[in-house]
């Protein structure tokens, strides 16, 4: 099969995940709870971001055996994270037939300049982005799905909101540009003219765009959907809360009916304790700063 076909198929899988919630899980049991609660996919990792943050130190790809255990436990797609620039970790994830690789700032970066050349892989990649330039640079490198880079493990939505608003503003600006201005914009964003041209013509990214980082409540998820996200990643927000199964199911329904305030109010009742969270000005390490 041609590389171009494979890239299309990988973008297509992200299209199937739209309107869905992708949940971080650390064990097969959690994966089953997530699937039963309506997760469209799970992200298999050894420690959820809140614990990575608490533990400190270097954070790496998870044990393949642990990932395989989760693959065996559920029928929905399974994603896993590799370090930014660590193409060998990505090769290992491809070898165990992961459905999606997240080249993620949640783990310690392995390369402070170069991201993985994702065109060399058959499995798809999702990458984080804080603005349109980062999103398009990751797409240029072969990412077939983008997510905001909201500050993971904090339970604070402010950064994800900042990223998606900025991306929307930058897309609107390119859309309204004269065609002869696009060449210079491509230079400023350090991406090809073709990608900028695509955004200009279609008023959107060429791949699916999800929200990630800091989503803790059904209202957080609906906020990101109303701001234009096409689906939501929930990391620490579920299994760091009082009643994971109930909260997970409520977030799934809130994403489907994200404009129905009455329903979301009802879904938000009696969910138990939300994750405690940390405000962004209280944290020492800004993971979103990793990889530009």
């Amino acid at each position: 099969m041609s590389t171009e076909n494979r890239y299309e198929l990988n973008k297509n899988l992200a299209q199937m995940l739209k309107g869905g919630v992708i949940m971080d899980v650390t064990t097969p049991e959690q994966a089953k709870i997530a699937e039963a609660a309506g997760a469209a996919a799970v992200m298999a990792l050894e420690r959820i971001p809140a614990d990575i943050r608490a533990a400190g130190g270097v954070s790496r790809m998870s044990d393949p055996k642990m990932i395989k255990g989760i693959q065996d436990a559920v029928s929905i797609p399974v994603m896993a994270k590799c370090r930014i620039g660590h193409f060998v970790e990505a090769q290992l994830l491809e070898a165990i037939e992961i459905d999606y690789i997240d080249e993620s700032e949640v783990l310690s970066p392995a390369d402070d300049i170069f991201h993985i050349n994702k065109h060399e892989f058959k499995v798809p990649f999702v990458c984080g982005a804080r603005d349109l330039g980062e999103a398009l640079r990751r797409i240029e490198e072969g990412a077939s799905m983008i997510r905001t880079k909201g500050e993971p493990g904090t339970g604070d939505i402010v950064q994800a909101v900042r990223h998606i608003r900025l991306m929307n503003q930058e897309i609107a600006r390119i859309t309204s540009m004269r065609e002869d201005e696009l060449f210079n914009r491509a230079k400023e964003l350090q991406v090809s003219y073709e990608l900028v041209r695509y955004v200009h013509d279609h008023k959107r990214l060429p791949v699916v765009n999800f929200a990630a980082g800091g989503v803790a409540t059904p209202a957080d998820a609906a906020l990101m959907m109303q701001l234009g996200a096409e689906g939501v990643f929930v990391g620490s927000g579920i299994f760091k809360s009082g009643n994971p199964a109930k909260r997970a199911a409520a977030i799934v329904q809130a994403v489907t009916n994200y404009t129905d305030a009455k329903l979301i109010a009802k879904l938000s009742e009696d969910l138990g304790e939300a994750m405690v969270g940390i405000n962004e000005n209280e944290i020492a390490l800004l993971m979103a700063e990793r990889g530009k």
Partner: protein, 207 residues
């Protein structure tokens, strides 16, 4: 093809609880068909002529259909002959039996389906094959299910590598692949012409 004014009296609901529903709406709108999204019970208060069950994750869609109270009203409509097109996850929702899953959903099409029959994402593929009554069409399979067995009264419309990938049973069109992911409108056109419009004509005759 373009804007076909003869379809402007047709209205089709697209199940929009999760998955690639927007792509189906785009295809139908190119055919001049009016569409709307089904996200909760009150969306079913209007009259409509057909239903699309899109691709996505069948476990998620099945759960949301129940949680949102949509399951029984939709099952009754499909059972009583509402023209329905199910693609990928939609095929799983329609299948009477799933060989590798204890769950079933609407179970209105008498076929046995295997979920994720081609394996994980690395097994996803694109091909072009013959579709009965249409000709050669693009077929995109994403972590796709396939139809292992079909009862005698089910019409087989397409096969790939000797495996059944598209069937028709009464007013239900059930397909393993994703006609909504390519620009070719012919499967949607077939659904509108051969099933939705034919059903309207029959209903008129009966009245």
């Amino acid at each position: 093809m373009g804007e076909d004014k003869t379809n402007n009296h047709i209205k089709i609901g697209v199940l929009a609880v999760q998955g690639a529903f927007a792509e189906h709406r785009t295809m139908l709108e190119k055919l001049g068909v009016e569409t709307f999204e089904i996200r909760q019970l009150r969306d079913l208060e209007q009259d409509f002529d057909g239903l699309i069950l899109p691709g996505g994750e069948s476990t998620v869609q099945g759960k949301l259909l129940h949680d949102l109270g949509l399951f029984e009203p939709l099952r009754e409509r499909i059972e009583s002959g509402l023209p329905t097109l199910g693609t990928c996850a939609g095929l799983i929702l329609l299948a009477e039996k799933l060989s590798n899953d204890g769950h079933t959903y609407f179970a209105t099409t008498p076929v046995t389906v295997e979920r994720n029959a081609y394996g994980r994402q690395l097994g996803s593929f694109y091909t072009e094959e013959n579709f009965e009554g249409i000709g050669k069409i693009p077929m995109t399979f994403i972590r796709a299910p396939l139809i292992q067995r079909a009862s005698q009264d089910v019409q087989i419309l397409a096969t790939v590598q000797n495996q059944i990938v598209a069937v028709r049973y009464k007013n239900q069109l059930a397909i393993s692949f994703h006609p909504e992911l390519n620009s070719d409108l012919r499967v949607h056109q077939y659904f509108v012409e051969e099933i939705v419009k034919a059903n309207q004509i029959q209903a008129k005759k009966a009245a």
